[in-house]
């Protein structure tokens, strides 16, 4: 589904990602671990095509098509969707407006908004005065309505209380259980791993991949020994 080949990315002239290789198969969920500032969000934003993330070298291929030069909305049309870590607040633009654009079926909008306790948020300005948890639920709500084949999830559970992680985890798992839905998930807390069936994990540090393996085992190892240990135990691997 997604193949990143030899990707080097600069932000404001500084190299952030270096020679990254990554492959996500159809229906595969991959988890990205790594300390703050290691380049995880940069990788996701580069895949999405956001401004300011300059590809110096390498390729991003989605469904066999090189998308390096495609604008964001064209990538969305191909089937990539992102859940923001820190979405912007937009005054006067209602969540209802966006959801109505993403899905033409009012029943789907209603049932999903109820599941994610967002019914009352539909008439509100998107992200304005939303709590941390509300923002995350609204992000998940939108991206699922968008129905992408590849979900890019940037810390979906950060700032969300346990009860809501449970609700979000179930919604996400239901979505990913469908055929050929893939995801690239960044997580620090690892809570989301209890809900989704992630097959592959990798550790990113200093703009490189260091380790690939079973995500749960990796998470346990990181929790016990820290990211530095990941660097030591295995030589740089290709994801």
């Amino acid at each position: 589904m997604l193949e990143v080949r030899n990707l080097t990315v600069a932000v404001s002239g500084k190299i952030i990602l270096k020679d990254i290789d990554l492959k996500i198969e159809d229906g595969q969920v991959m988890v990205l671990f790594g300390p703050n500032g290691s380049g995880k969000t940069t990788l996701i934003k580069t895949i999405m095509g956001f401004g300011g993330y300059k590809i110096k070298k390498g390729e991003i291929a989605f469904q066999g098509k090189i998308i390096n030069e495609l604008p964001v909305d064209e990538r969305v049309k191909l089937g990539i969707g992102i859940m923001y870590q820190h979405p912007p607040k937009i005054r006067g633009v209602k969540l209802k407006q966006i959801s109505g654009f993403l899905s033409s079926d009012p029943d789907i909008i209603e049932s999903l908004s109820q599941k994610l306790s967002l019914s009352e948020h539909l008439d509100r300005d998107v992200n304005l005065d939303f709590s941390g948890g509300e923002m995350k639920r609204s992000e998940l709500f939108q991206v699922i309505l968008q129905n992408p084949d590849l979900l890019l999830l940037d810390e979906p559970e950060s700032g969300v209380d346990i009860e809501n992680i449970h609700v979000m985890g179930r919604v996400l798992n239901e979505y990913l259980k469908q055929e050929k839905k893939s995801a690239l998930v960044i997580t620090h807390t690892g809570y989301i791993l209890d809900y989704i069936n992630a097959q592959k994990g990798c550790v990113m540090s200093e703009g490189k991949f260091w380790c690939v393996g079973d995500p749960r085992e990796m998470f346990d190892a990181i929790r016990d020994f820290g990211y530095e240990k990941c660097k030591e135990c295995i030589c740089p691997h290709k994801a």
Binding site: M48, G51, G81, Y84, I90, G92, V93, I98
Partner: protein, 367 residues
Amino acid sequence: MSSQGLNGIIHKKDLDTVSSSGMDLSEKTRSASFLQQDNRVEFYRSLSEGVEIMGIEEAIKNIPEAKGYYGQAFDSLKRQYPLDTQGGYFIRIKKGRTVELPIQACLFLKAQGFQQKVHNLIIVEEGAKAYLITGCSASEAADEAFHLGISEFFVKQGAYLNFTMIHSWKEDVSVKPMSIAIVEGGSSFISNYICLRPVKEINMYPTAVLKGEEAKASFNSLILSHPGSLQDIGSRVILGARNCQAEIVSRAVSKGGKVIARGHLKAEQKDIRAHLECRGLILTEKGTIHAIPEMESEFRDVDMSHEAAIGRINKEEIEYLCARGFSKEQAQSIIVRGFMDVNVLALPDMLKQEISALEDKTLKGSF
């Protein structure tokens, strides 16, 4: 004066323009209506017992109190006002009456080069409550026309007036409204102003004087500035009694014209609360927005604040909507439309939808 309804008086080709200023020509959703074309009072009719409506000259002739009020608001602030006016409306809402449906008044510029000068008088008696929409517009033929509108509002003890003014002019029309509201204790004066169509020049600085304790005033405006226009638009509240509250909110979008967004809050008593907020979006290189917020107090025990922000559309917001599948152009248009959201105005629910639909129609394809 015509015996037929408002609908029959306005020329067919002017119907769209007049409707674009918020007028319901069927009168079905209005409790009273008034229409003046150039200097002629063409129509007035009240469909509610609580509302008296007529031309100002007629009111001064027939209603003894009207004469007493005329000019009083300007005199109280020692302000001069032009005396060479012709027409304008007199509206009085009777004591204790709540008038659910809005009252509408239309001031229409019809002839080429016409200089319309009107003097309006609005009295909301003790404990009364009403909504008023004034729509000002110009016909296709009214090239280089001029409109001067003097308005005096008297909102008596415990009364409520929600006033919405919609300007729907054209490129070569110049406009100068002069308004003063005298707001007594326990009463509220809310002013909503919308100007989305081109205009040559607008110069206005309406003032509300809060005279009694616990009086409230709020001024809210939505301004779209087209290339070549100058809109010098402000709002002033003088908080003259304790426990008064005031709010001034403005949103200006420049597509190439110049907007001067002024605001002035003046505390003349302690224990008052007042806030001023001005936000501006500049869409093109040639657009100018100049925000001038002012606050004044001689007292320590006041709570006054302001915030102002001007700039281009936030790139991150555009990108966010693109990440939902909107094109860049669609995203920009949605953001600007959202910036001009009808909720910025303090409209009653029944007018919200109507004004929002009007905005949609006027702004369609604008960005």
